[in-house]
């Protein structure tokens, strides 16, 4: 269980309140208008933004003041998910060893993860020699080897075309959700939420609503979501 307990987040004049629980092993879509604070919530869970008040807990363990790298959390950002000067294998390897001193069994894990996301034979390529979809797969492979229980997706596939994006969402579902990860995904597209997430939480008007079943949310949208969907 990932818990945001009486969380108050502030960035300049913007503030967001969150008092919600995310069930372990579920994929939850955070949906809402842009600027509503979806990414702010992820930044707080990932440890990039210290809350003004409140706590972040994972299975009862207080994460509020843990360093980003010490949290049971992997993040995929909107962009800059790969280091352009490192090869695909090195980028994946960082998920195992942040100093890149990989042993033989680490190398094997990297190769297996690249195989898992369909990138056999691409290990030595640098990101500039990969397509946008392939770059996303490398980042996903790194999340796989890091093997942390919580995965935060801050619209990492936003720059991909519709077909590629769907393909990546399916891959996330097959590799991460099926493996029991708790996935939080920011989106402003209802179709993405319905495609991948069992649950969805509305972020609007400075608060985060508790997650409900995705189908329920869209069949009976609250006023704020109705206004957003138009």
């Amino acid at each position: 269980m990932l818990t945001c307990e009486n969380l108050l987040l502030q960035q300049g004049s913007f503030s967001l309140r969150a008092d919600v629980r995310f069930q372990a092993g579920k994929a939850v879509a955070l949906i809402g208008p842009s600027g509503a604070g979806k990414s702010t919530l992820l930044a707080a869970i990932a440890g990039f933004l210290t809350p003004v008040s409140g706590r972040v807990l994972w299975d009862g363990r207080d994460l509020t003041h843990a360093a980003p790298g010490d949290r049971p959390v992997s993040v995929l950002f909107q962009d800059n998910n790969l280091f352009p000067h490192l090869s695909a294998a090195q980028n994946v390897g960082l998920g195992l060893r942040p100093d890149l001193r990989l042993r033989a069994d680490d190398q094997a894990k990297v190769a297996a993860a690249l195989h898992d996301v369909g990138l056999d034979g691409f290990a030595d390529r640098k990101p500039s020699a990969l397509s946008g979809g392939q770059q996303s797969r490398v980042a996903l492979a790194r999340v796989l080897v890091a093997n942390r229980p919580v995965v935060l997706l801050d619209e990492p596939f936003g720059a991909l075309g519709p077909a590629l994006k769907d393909e990546m969402l399916d891959l996330v579902k097959a590799k991460l959700v099926s493996a029991g990860k708790t996935v939080l995904m920011v989106t402003h597209d209802p179709a993405d939420a319905q495609r991948m997430a069992d649950m969805a939480a509305l972020v609007a008007d400075g608060t985060v609503s508790p997650p409900v079943a995705t189908s329920d949310l869209f069949s009976n949208p609250p006023p704020a979501l109705k206004a957003y969907l138009g």
Partner: protein
């Protein structure tokens, strides 16, 4: 609000670099002041030096900017073969050794130069280049290209759409677009050049001299070298420091982006391009003014190039060693300070601009004087001083790049637990390589051509190439001096090219 988006690195390298800069700027000044025997304060000659320093800097800056405006305007408006090469060449004087340029200018404007030869044909008395006009001439030679690049950048920053709009309205481009741009760009350009000319030493040493054409920096040299009057040297250094700080604060506040960088290859389409002859005359004259002195070096230096005495070659070897050491130290300090970041670092980073190289050197000698003989550490101190004096330029190249890396990849690295050495080794160093190479090239070339503190203390055995060249000129061995100049300028550009090239080598970023 608290945000953590930057990986932690060790604090001691930044602290060490900062402390070193502080010791070498403030500390050396303190050492000089402390060892001084305070006598009668400033002599009338010192006041004359202060007046002359400000006067020549004002004149040099004003003339450089005035002459640069038509050239920049022409370069912004015209498209021609070799335009990009010419603009690149305009960046060259920055790393051109002062003493080489002086020799080139003497070959044209000096007593037996082309100009006086020409005047002699018409029976006109030869004119002397030495004095205020000589100093200003040399400063304009160095800084006019810099001004052109600043102002050209201003011209190219005017969006193309504005010119289109002005053309469709048949509105005067000059008053509507160019005048406001110049009002924004010219003051900062003027101040930067004023600042550069304030601390001028090598130009004043060679082109000025005499009681009526002495800068503060030159007066410091004379006070230390001939009178060993440390009190006066310290006092003059303080005055120079204050002058520079005032000018630097103004300059740094109104300065925009770096003129050394790229991005000047654009030509905006214009509709007011009558009278191309005026533009091409401006470009042609500027190119002639810049290239002729260098061509003279080549012409006079080449014949005797292989007959140079071995002492010159030995001096060249010493200069190369000093240049590499200074470049390495400079980029290490710049990197350490950039990784640390913050306002304090920015202040420390520009402080060397206000420091007197001679006082830094003298102070450094005084600090080690009880333990060693000055000549023994002449090269080491020169290396230290050169690294410190080049630091502001290196930092201007490295610091924004490091800040960008932190912004782009800080969060990713943090989420992967990449901190300290892993972050520096795997992310910062590979990604900062290009500006680092450029900074190293700059530092190496500046050190290679530097004729400053080394002139104070070096004996024959510690002579660097610029000093050897200066001594050859002093002995009126002009042919050999020209050959040494050719070697010096070749080495300076080669060092810069080598380092810059190293930075660009791994291109698949």
């Amino acid at each position: 609000m608290a945000q953590r988006a930057v990986p932690v690195t060790a604090r001691w390298p930044g602290a060490l670099a900062g402390a070193l800069v502080l010791v070498l700027t403030i500390g050396t000044l303190g050492a000089v002041a402390w060892r001084a025997e305070w006598g009668g304060g400033l002599a009338p000659a010192d006041w004359a030096a202060i007046r002359f320093t400000i006067l020549q800097a004002l004149l040099s800056a004003a003339l450089s900017v005035l002459l640069a405006i038509p050239v920049a305007r022409a370069l912004a408006r015209r498209r021609f073969w070799g335009r990009q090469l010419l603009i690149t060449l305009l960046g060259a004087p920055f790393i051109l050794p002062v003493i080489v340029a002086v020799l080139g200018l003497l070959a044209i404007f000096g007593r037996s130069g082309i100009l006086n030869d020409g005047l002699g044909w018409f029976g006109i008395e030869p004119i002397s280049i030495f004095g205020l006009h000589g100093v200003v001439l040399a400063h304009v030679f160095f800084n006019m290209p810099l001004a052109v690049r600043f102002i050209l950048q201003g011209w190219l920053s005017i969006p193309a759409e504005r010119f289109r709009l002005a053309a469709s309205l048949n509105a005067p481009v000059g008053r509507l677009l160019e005048w406001p741009m110049l009002r924004a760009v010219v003051p900062s350009t003027f101040l930067v050049i004023f600042l550069i000319c304030l601390t001028s030493f090598a130009v004043a040493l060679t082109m000025g001299g005499g009681p009526r054409a002495t800068t503060v920096e030159l007066a410091i040299y004379q006070a230390v070298r001939f009178d060993f009057d440390l009190g006066r040297a310290a006092l003059l250094a303080c005055i120079q420091f204050v002058l520079c700080v005032v000018a630097a604060v103004f300059a740094w506040r109104v300065t925009g982006t770096d003129p050394i960088g790229a991005g000047l290859d654009r030509v905006v389409q214009r509709w007011d391009l009558a009278r191309p002859a005026v533009d091409f005359a401006a470009i042609g004259l500027a190119a002639l003014f810049l290239l002729l002195p260098l061509a003279m070096i080549l012409l006079r230096g080449l014949p005797g190039f292989l007959d140079m005495p071995t002492t010159v070659w030995a001096a060249a070897m010493r200069s190369i060693v000093v240049a590499f050491g200074s470049a390495a130290l400079c980029v290490l300090m710049a990197l350490a300070l950039a990784l640390r970041g913050g306002a304090m670092v920015s202040v420390i980073g520009v402080m060397p601009l206000a420091a007197s190289g001679l006082v830094v050197g003298t102070g450094a000698f005084l600090l080690v004087f009880p333990f060693v003989r000055p000549a023994d550490v002449a090269l080491l101190v020169t290396m230290l001083v050169n690294a410190t004096l080049a630091l502001p330029f290196a930092l201007r190249s490295v610091a924004p790049a490091v800040a960008q890396i932190k912004q782009d990849y800080g969060r990713l690295a943090l989420s992967l637990s990449m901190i300290r050495w892993s972050w520096v080794r795997l992310v910062v160093l590979p990604r900062v390589r290009r500006p680092l190479g450029f900074a190293a090239g700059l530092a190496a070339a500046l050190s290679m051509g530097d004729l400053g503190v080394i002139a104070l203390f070096a004996g024959q055995a510690e002579e660097t190439l610029p000093l050897a060249m200066y001594r050859l000129m002093g002995a009126y061995r002009m042919e050999t001096a020209a050959s040494a100049a050719l070697l010096l300028v070749t080495l300076s550009f080669a060092l810069f090219w080598l380092c810059d090239r190293w930075g660009r080598a791994d291109a698949d970023m």
